[in-house]
Symmetry: C2
Subunit: 355 residues, 2 copies
């Protein structure tokens, strides 16, 4: 696969890079940004001239729709540098498609593929010094779109800003992750926006997650809001359960995000002979499996963390500790996926794209 | 009731007002703003010095949390001028309480009552020329809070901005309003944020509303997301149904906003001998009532529109027209409420507060 890079972009470079001031060994996820950003505005019914320019704050009216009505979507992607100093993206087509699905659900304009892909290509190309070699070093990529039209009336904006910003990163999660299975709070409604990477889906999780944190748990496994009997996502990630030697994960739906890591892990597992069952996963069967010892692993899957093993979970005030096992599917799949991303293993799927 | 106005606020005035350039007879709702705005930032764990200053755009980092995770809440209120040129607020205590309930649900800091009320008082006092006399003229008030901390990591911000902006307004809705009863899309999940005035709740409605618009309907009556059998809100308003001479409206819940207009109408109706039943309202009973002629009225209730009569609704592709009646409860209650707000009728409830 190769990246469409035919869109003309105005580029204004910084006078001097701040890269030398960055300690790449001590990065806090998502807080350091590269020298430049990509910006393309939508107004009068069309996308305007795209620009790459110095990363900087920008002005918005106090009545900007994004502040009042939350019309905002994003994607999370990563770039990787291989041993030959080539920079690679992982399945950018999937992020692009999902971005436009999110845009549609939030009544925002879809972004042209050429603008999205050329923006990625030219911005990352300009910042390739920021992508460091070595497993675990990545450049986190954040494409996002916000409603910048003004007016405190609850209706879609007519003006939008599509941007891409880049943040050098190490790994996202650290430490042991214990989770609570949600019995009251939910992240998505039937007929709601759970399948969109819409800004409002994330802040909605902060308070329940804070309550979980106060009880000593790092994340929540979200259940369906109507019955709280089906396990759907873990924190901001998709979630997998291993019972004996089969992996289970819920099918995507309008409540569940179609995660790129999730579907890549499913493909990898299937390719390498691990049984994967994509079907609704019930709280009750996980509790039973935990009790009879057949529940071997639970892990989250997402771009930021890749794979996030969970060491135990709480349900109805009972804590279930997961066994420490030798042949962890979570770690095996993480290694296989990561090696493809860093070009250390053959990419039999054609997932990687060179910048 | 009187307004706490003891908080010290730095005031910087505009050099010249733009009020003479505004055509107060032709205002588009929510698009014209007064000369000044109120701003108070939260950082290092506390609210900083409050300011009133010229209305103007402000700078935010591209990674500001409000853009990525939708941590944003608001309130809608109005000020009214009476025949003696006094300016009045309507139940600001209710908006303040709800604002902090929303803040809590969105893991944002609560605003001190003194800051909220003093901000309202001093800003509106400064802009009292913008509040015009006469029924239908109001000053729409938009308190809101956004997460301004930077960083693309899905966790609550540590920095926030609380603002109040003011917009002179005529009435919000115009024309006949036909609605669709939601059979697929939803606005809120059980255990979600439906009861909060969170930004993300509003943009989530834009796409389904656009689909309704394309079919010739202005709004959607939202139903519970699990079964779509209970009628919950209309567009961005609470909703009332009149069957024979009784008004029905759903109880507030974590899916339904605790509307100030809603509860004021309930109190007014009860005071004046109209039967009100606050209980779940089923789609099926409304369809039956429409068929047998006992369904007399449906109307939305909210600050912007006050009361918004609905002329008919569609359900399962059948359109039900409501009868044209003489003694409309919607119009009667709207008149009673409006007269209290404009100080044209006695405020037996103590709802109005002088600036």
């Amino acid at each position: 696969m190769s990246l469409k890079n035919t869109h003309e972009i105005d580029i204004v470079r910084v006078s001097s890079s701040k890269i030398d001031s960055v300690d790449f060994d001590n990065l806090t996820f998502g807080t350091t940004f590269t020298d430049h950003m990509f910006v393309c505005d939508f107004r009068e019914g069309k996308w305007q001239k795209a620009e790459i320019k110095p990363y900087a704050p920008f002005l918005l009216d106090p009545s900007a729709k994004v502040f009042h009505y939350g019309q905002a979507i994003f994607e999370g992607m990563k770039a990787y540098k291989d041993e030959s100093d080539d920079v690679w993206l992982f399945r950018p087509d999937q992020n692009f498609e999902r971005f436009n699905k999110s845009a549609k659900r939030m009544a925002m304009p879809e972004v042209d593929e050429e603008i999205f892909m050329s923006g990625l290509h030219q911005l990352i190309d300009l910042e390739r010094e920021w992508v460091k070699k070595g497993l675990g070093n990545t450049l986190y990529i954040r494409p996002f779109m916000i409603a910048i039209g003004s007016g405190v009336i609850a209706a879609p904006s007519t003006q939008y800003r599509f941007m891409i910003i880049l943040s050098p990163a190490k790994s996202y999660y650290s430490g042991e992750v214990k989770v609570i299975i949600a019995e009251h709070y939910s992240r998505a409604a039937n007929g709601g926006i759970g399948a969109a990477k819409a800004a409002g889906n994330y802040s909605a999780q902060f308070y329940p997650t804070k309550l979980a944190n106060e009880r000593g748990f790092q994340q929540i496994i979200w259940t369906d809001d109507a019955t709280h009997t089906k396990l759907e996502e873990a924190g901001t990630m998709n979630v997998f359960f291993r019972i004996n030697d089969t992996l289970y994960t819920a099918p995507t739906s309008e409540r569940i995000l179609d995660g790129v890591t999730r579907k890549s892990l499913i493909d990898l597992a299937k390719r390498d002979g691990i049984d994967v069952a994509v079907r609704p996963v019930l709280v009750e069967e996980i509790i039973e499996a935990a009790k009879d010892g057949s529940l071997k692993e639970i892990f989250g899957a997402g771009t930021a963390a890749v794979v996030n093993p969970i060491v135990g979970f709480s349900y109805q005030d009972t804590y279930y500790e997961l066994p420490k096992i030798e042949n962890s599917f979570a770690l095996l799949l993480k290694e296989k996926l990561t090696k493809i991303q860093y070009k250390l293993a053959e990419d039999t799927f054609g997932w990687t794209v060179k910048i």
